[in-house]
C-alpha cells in the first residue's frame, strides 16, 4: 500500500514578516536597544541592526538574537550555543 504523509502532522515554523518587524521587536522591548546598536548576535558576536536581524529565541530565561547569517540562524535554532558561552 502507498504510504502517505499524515497531513495533520505539522512542523510549525514561527516567523515575523518584515512589515511587522519593528512592532514585534517593540513588543519584546528590543527595538530601542537594537536601534541604539546595543545588541549583538549570540552566535558570531556581530552587532545586530534592523537590517541584519535574523531571528530571536530564548535561553535560560533570556532573549537571544541571531544575525541573518544562515549558520547563525541554524545554531540559534539548535540551541548549540548560548549567551553564557
Amino acid at each position: 500500500m502507498k504510504r502517505r504523509r499524515d497531513w495533520s502532522k505539522k512542523q510549525k515554523i514561527r516567523a515575523v514578516h518584515d512589515d511587522d518587524l519593528e512592532g514585534f521587536l517593540d513588543s519584546l522591548d528590543l527595538l530601542q536597544n537594537l536601534k541604539r546598536g546595543e545588541l549583538r548576535c549570540t552566535i558570531c558576536g556581530v552587532q545586530v541592526t534592523l537590517d541584519n536581524f535574523g531571528a530571536v529565541g530564548s535561553h535560560n530565561g533570556t532573549i537571544i538574537l541571531a544575525c541573518d547569517r544562515t549558520s547563525c540562524l541554524a545554531e540559534l535554532e539548535s540551541g548549540d550555543r548560548c549567551l553564557d558561552d
Binding site: 504523509r5 505539522k10 530564548s58 530565561g61 549558520s71
Partner: protein
C-alpha cells in the same frame, strides 16, 4: 439498500451542476491536499506577478505568497523523499506569522522566531525556512545519534534537493553561495561527508538505504543517550555504502555490515557472466546465507535494465522464504541507466526453522 436507493432517487434530481462541482472539489481537497497547496501557491504567485505597479495589493498578499510558496516547495519535495525513506520527514511545514508577543510568553514558549522578508527576497526566505524546518523536522527521533558533521551533510543534501526541485526562485544559487560553499570551505570534514553522501545518492542509497537505517536505529534507541560509539557506527555504515557505490565493475568489496545496531547485507547483481553460466541460484543462496548470518535487512541491487530483470527473478525465489520484500524502487542512476533496489526484511519464521533443523 433499497432505502438508500430511494433516498438517492429523491436527492439526485435536486442536485445542481454547481453542487456536483462543489462536492467534487471537496473530495479533491481531502484526497490531494498537497496538490491543492501547490495550486494555491501558484495562483498567489500569479496574482503577485500581475499586481506589479499596484503596491497596495502586493502588501496585502505578500505574507500569503511568501508562506504558501515556502510550504508548497518544501512539502512537495519532502513527500517524494518520504516515499523513498518513510518517516524521514514526518511532518509538513507550516509557517505561522507572529505580529506581537509578550516578553514573558515568548521566553516561556522557548521557540525561535525567524524573520522572513518580502516576496522579492524569496530565495533567502526559502533557504532560511527550509534549513530551519530541517533542523526541527528532519529525522526527528534519530538525528541526535548522527555526529554533527554527518547530520549537517544530510540536511544540506536534502535542502539542495528541495531548492533544485523548484526553479521559481534562485534559492539554490543563494544557498550555494551563502551557505554551502563557505561551510564546505570552512570545514574539510563536512566537505568529505558531502562527497560521501553524493556517492550514496548517485546509486540511490542515500535516502532509500542510509536514511532508512538511521531512522530505524534511532527509533530502536529512543530514550538512550547519544554516544560516540553509536555515531561512529552510523558513520562506518555510510562509508560501507560509499565503498559499494564507488566500486569498479570487477572489484570485490565487503557486502555485509554486521555491527551492534545495524545488521545489513547487500546483494549486488552485477556480473552478467555469472548469471549466464550459473543462473540466479548463487544470488538466491546468498540472500538465504545473509539471513542465516544475522542480517536483519537485505538490499538487493542492480544497475541497468538487463540485470534489473534478473533481480525480479531473484525476488520471486526469495520472497516469503528467507525474506519479506518491504519495498521496491526503480532508481535513476544517471543518463538513461536505471537501477533497481529491493528492500527485504529477514523472515523470522525461516530463521526459526533453520535453527530447529
Amino acid at each position: 439498500m433499497t432505502e438508500l436507493l430511494e433516498i438517492l432517487r429523491v436527492i439526485l434530481p435536486s442536485v445542481t451542476a454547481g453542487g456536483l462541482i462543489a462536492v467534487f472539489l471537496l473530495i479533491y481537497f481531502v484526497m490531494f491536499p498537497q496538490k491543492v497547496e501547490r495550486w494555491g501557491a501558484l495562483l498567489l504567485r500569479l496574482i503577485y506577478g500581475l499586481s506589479s505597479g499596484y503596491e497596495f495589493i502586493r502588501v496585502r498578499i505578500d505574507r500569503r505568497v511568501v508562506a504558501s510558496n515556502i510550504q508548497a516547495q518544501i512539502n512537495t519535495v519532502c513527500d517524494r523523499i518520504n516515499k523513498e525513506a518513510p518517516e524521514v520527514l514526518p511532518n509538513r511545514i507550516m509557517i505561522e506569522w507572529v505580529k506581537t508577543e509578550t516578553k514573558e510568553a515568548f521566553i516561556k514558549g522557548g521557540e525561535v522566531i525567524v524573520r522572513l522578508k518580502a516576496y522579492r527576497n524569496q530565495e533567502r526566505n526559502v533557504v532560511e525556512g527550509t534549513l530551519l524546518y530541517l533542523r526541527k523536522g528532519f529525522l526527528p527521533r534519530s538525528k541526535q545519534y548522527l555526529d554533527d558533521t554527518l547530520r549537517k551533510g544530510c540536511e544540506f543534501t536534502v535542502a539542495s534537493q528541495i531548492f533544485v526541485a523548484d526553479r521559481s526562485t534562485d534559492a539554490y544559487g543563494y544557498f550555494f553561495d551563502k551557505e554551502l560553499t563557505p561551510a564546505r570551505q570552512d570545514d574539510p570534514r563536512l566537505e568529505r561527508d558531502m562527497q560521501t553522501i553524493q556517492h550514496l545518492d548517485s546509486k540511490g542509497y542515500f535516502s532509500r538505504v542510509f536514511l532508512v537505517e538511521v531512522r530505524q536505529t534511532g527509533e530502536r534507541l529512543l530514550g538512550t543517550m547519544p554516544t560516540d560509539e553509536i555515531s561512529a557506527e552510523l558513520r562506518q555504515f555510510a562509508h560501507f555504502l560509499q565503498t559499494i557505490a564507488t566500486k569498479s565493475r570487477d572489484e570485490d568489496v565487503p557486502l555485509t555490515f554486521l555491527r551492534v545496531r545495524i545488521k545489513v547485507g547487500v546483494v549486488l547483481v552485477a556480473k552478467r557472466e555469472k548469471i549466464q553460466y550459473l543462473g540466479i541460484e548463487p544470488y538466491v543462496q546468498k540472500v538465504h546465507w545473509l539471513v542465516r548470518r544475522g542480517c536483519e535487512r537485505i538490499y538487493i541491487s542492480a544497475w541497468g535494465k538487463e540485470l534489473s530483470a534478473w533481480v525480479m527473478d531473484i525476488k520471486r525465489q526469495v520472497r516469503g522464504r528467507s525474506v519479506n520484500v518491504l519495498r521496491e524502487y526503480k532508481v535513476p542512476i544517471g543518463g538513461a541507466t536505471t537501477g533497481i533496489l529491493l528492500v527485504c526484511q529477514a523472515n523470522n519464521t525461516y530463521l526459526a526453522r533453520q535453527r530447529e533443523s
